[in-house]
Amino acid sequence: MMASGAVEVFRTLYCGTLATQVAFRFQAQSAFFRSEPSRIYGGMPKLLGLARLQRPGYTQFQLAGVAFALGLAAAALGIAPKVGLGVALLAFFIYFPPILGLGSVMRKANLVPLVLGILLLAPSNQLLGVQIAVAAVYFSAGIAKLQVSGWRWMDGVALQGYFVTAYMWHERPLALWLSRSRSLCALLSTVVLIWELTFPVAIFFPSMVWVWVVVGVGFHLATSLLMRIHYWVYFGPVYFVFVAPWVAQCVA
């Protein structure tokens, strides 16, 4: 089935990748569910901060996971895509809340329902909507740094501290090596903060968006290698939104 427009390309790549991720991680995520993470991380989240979600039983959880993956697979293959997206969106709110403590889920899966909702409900400009949602994540992270530490966050001390902490947690020698250079940490933290705060700008300059995308991939690669923070699984696929127009052009 050939995807024609950029939206269809994005839907195929995004939903296909997510479905594959869930299929491959289904067993590990089920094991995590059985380990009773609520004893460590607390109860279920409140949906939109209003109503606390009910913890599903194990069978319900597994069925929701299967429905989520099958819905995404259908959407990716273009088989009743709206139905598939709707099923996946509903299943998300059953399958993911009990496993939010999992390292690959946490806040990293938060964009999934928003992206699925945009693909399902937005009458037009779906890709723009997804790009705004991505930009909001990075912008929020940048704003938080300014609110907590101010522009001093860029002087290298903060990053030195995080690298040292990461080393004490995970024994990554590269983190230790980087922590020893204040000037390198200052350079890296300056790049990160400016990249986060200016990410919304990328939306208005589509021809320049690759700069933010390349820095973004490098940023997530670095946090993955140095700090074991893996955004690839449930957040990474949203980056397809920036390459989908180009892929659609090539296909056309």
Binding site: S35, G49, L50, L102, G129, A141, K145, Q147
Partner: protein, 131 residues
């Protein structure tokens, strides 16, 4: 659609949490390396050797360690109980281990300094006596 994006932006700007719309405040602080401190769990085996606890979901170690940053009375026992429960879940039993050690790690003069805060013996599994 634009409404959803607007909500997303407002929550981001005002740093509000309304799952799945959440803020991203991680790594926003500015802790110098000399103030860096983590608390980790070390497992002592029966042969006297020890190793860091590495659960299948590695964030469990971070989460329990973070709760132990201020080692309040009772927290060590709570942590030990949870660690044993999770080891049993991951490995099928806790018989390999003799004790659970809670270790504070600090950064001093360019290297890591470890200090044991507490050591909790692992109870031996009770074997029912034959009648």
């Amino acid at each position: 659609m634009m409404g959803a994006c607007l909500v997303c932006w407002v929550l981001a700007h005002f740093q509000l949490d309304a799952w799945p719309f959440t803020r991203y405040p991680m790594f926003s602080g500015r802790t110098p390396p000399e103030d860096a401190r983590v608390v980790r769990i070390r497992l002592v085996l029966h042969d006297g050797t020890s190793r860091w606890w590495a659960p299948k979901s590695h964030r469990y170690a971070d989460a329990i360690g973070s709760r132990l940053q201020n080692l309040e009375p009772g927290m060590a026992l709570w942590a030990a109980a949870e660690v044993l429960r999770l080891i049993a879940h991951d490995e099928g039993g806790t018989g390999r281990y003799r004790a659970i050690s809670i270790v504070e790690r600090r950064w001093e003069n360019g290297s890591v300094r470890d200090r044991e805060l507490s050591s909790i013996p692992v109870p031996r599994p009770t074997v029912p006596r034959p009648k």
